[in-house]
Amino acid sequence: MPEIREKLSAEELADGSARDERRQGSERQVSMQGSKRQASVQHNVEQTSVRASQSLRDRTREGALNNARARHPLVELTLVRLREFTREPEAVFWVFVFPVLLTCALGIAFRNTAPEKHRVAVESSDRSGSQSSINTMAQSLKGSADIDVVVLSPAEAAGALRSGRVDLVVRSTDEGSQRAQSSPAPSFEYRYDPTRPESRMARLVADDALQRAEGRTDVTRARDERVTEPGARYIDFLIPGLVGLNLMGSGMWGIGFAIVSARTRKLLKRFAATPMRRSHYLFSFVLSRLVFLTLEVAAVIGFAWIVFGVAVQGSLVELAVALLLGGLMFAGIGLLVAARPRTVEGVSGMMNLVMLPMWLLSGTFFSSERFPEVLQPFIKALPLTALNDVLRGVMSNGTSLAANWPELIIMIVWGMVSFALALRLFRWQ
């Protein structure tokens, strides 16, 4: 085969150059004379050359066929996706390094330290008589290991409470005259914001300490057994949410920008002019996402495991299945968002619009159960909520994937519907 091919291309070349000469010659003549006779001579020559080269062409086609070892378009498209991505240093940073940095920062901010102390301010007073009772009060509070006490002037105390530097302000209402006449025990006033859980806690603890100091005794005996269960820390709650959030972000940005920039560069139009199957193009994004997903998830989970000791409680296989489904779902949604916009600005706006509600509502940083009951069905139907719930089930609670079947169905529906819609709505020009 190679010999024939070589011979053919030589023939082809000879044909081409002969034609060149002929052409240049006849062009000169035509422009000099422009005679019909010249032109018709040219066409007669062409007639034979076309006929000859037609059969030559058929043979080249055979040759090309035998030598053709083209990969499947889906494989080739996916490889191109991977190459384009890895050759973009910024993209690598945002997908791999940024999530790890975020995990690191949040992990440090919310790391488990000794239980936090309650910050209580004792209001000082100008009156000389009450000075001693304020000191006693501060002493009694200091007696409790769980309390940090500061003595502040009324104005300072009010400011500290407002800005959250203290959780509770204790004021003595113990005025000398009052004490002598009516009440044998000192009396206190607690100032705090009942909507702040830490303030309510501080009130209970401070009250307990003051009451005990005044001589209250426990009616029954209670014993504390302190446990810190694996999977129950905040970082254990946070990591699955971050993984979910990361899958959403990289799926949307990775796909949206690539598609819209190909559209503005008219590359999509060029592809549309080939026999390429359009579903292959879209599906190559899904496949390449799965490759990246494996890497980026491994980076975050591996980091969390090594640095913060966040272990996967459930089965790794089930975790992989959950991640796969999540990746597919967000690839589908990313394709849908990128299906129409013509500019990168347009697609950025749309992606933010789609992602923002999920950033807030889907329980990444705190449980979505905190939102009002009315919103719950809506929140539960969000893709990221479903993914986060499934990931938490497998990673933190160690429950089986099957236990989260409603969420799995939500994810599959999102993925399939958005991919099908994207294929229908996709703008190729």
Partner: protein
Amino acid sequence: MLVNPTSTVHPASVASAIGKSSVALRCTALVKRYVDVLAVNELDLEVYTGECFGLLGPNGAGKTTTIEILEGLTARDGGTVEVLGQAWGTTGDQALRERIGVQLQETQLADKLTVKETVRLFRSFYRRGREVDEVIRMVELDEKRGARVGKLSGGQKQRLAVACALVGNPDLLFLDEPTTGLDPQARLKLWDIVERFQASGGTVILTTHYMEEASRLCDRVGIMDHGRIIALGTPGALIESLGADQILEFSTRLKLAEGTLELLPGVRGVRVRAEGYSLTVSDIGTALPALLAELDKQQAELITLTTHQATLEDVFVSLTGRMLRDA
């Protein structure tokens, strides 16, 4: 004035010698409307198998819209299109795309990929086609095989775009302004590639606003303006239709008396332009002495005088009163 010299030199006779499908591409009464303009206005066109057909016209004449309708990329508002015996919009579109090669005017291929990766990607879309290395060799990019597309020069990028169009071994090649913005040398290289493709039996339809390109590459040219073909024929016949060999352009210090130039022997047409006069001349041997004598008589003082052989540009000028490039 519609020139149609195809009746005298009919490439259809060439084509009919080859086989049944002598017409590679045909459209009738093609119409495309955009919000405020009629981009293509009742356009009829036939391109014969094995020929190189050129749509020549200024920017905005409707060339790109026309070719993109023919490529099946843009929807038409009226008329019929038949490419290689098949209409667009059927279940056979995929099969038809296997047989055509397309280079679009403004496609920017992915910068981060190499030449070879790009061609290989396009190769994978076709069930049968040429070998990747062979196509790269055909467009003379062997040395740039491993180079990123973003690092290529304009001419190299354009040749790569043509390589992507050739890799499916098409029967019909569409080129939309393949050499716009290229330097002369890059342009010559590209012309070679197109000629070799045609020499191997392929049919080419290209758009251009360079008359040199049209007269060098095209067997027949359709001159387009405002969405219509205003003249059609071989480049030679079109130029011949001016009835002139030479274009004589000159300027004088004083204005010439009106109507005097038309009377000179050998002058077929006169156009007065801001920068001077332009004469279409059938016989320069008699026209030039006569002109000089006339100028002398009127004491107009000649400032500049140039002559050139009539070109497609002059055909366009005589048809529209405008230049190709600044139309």
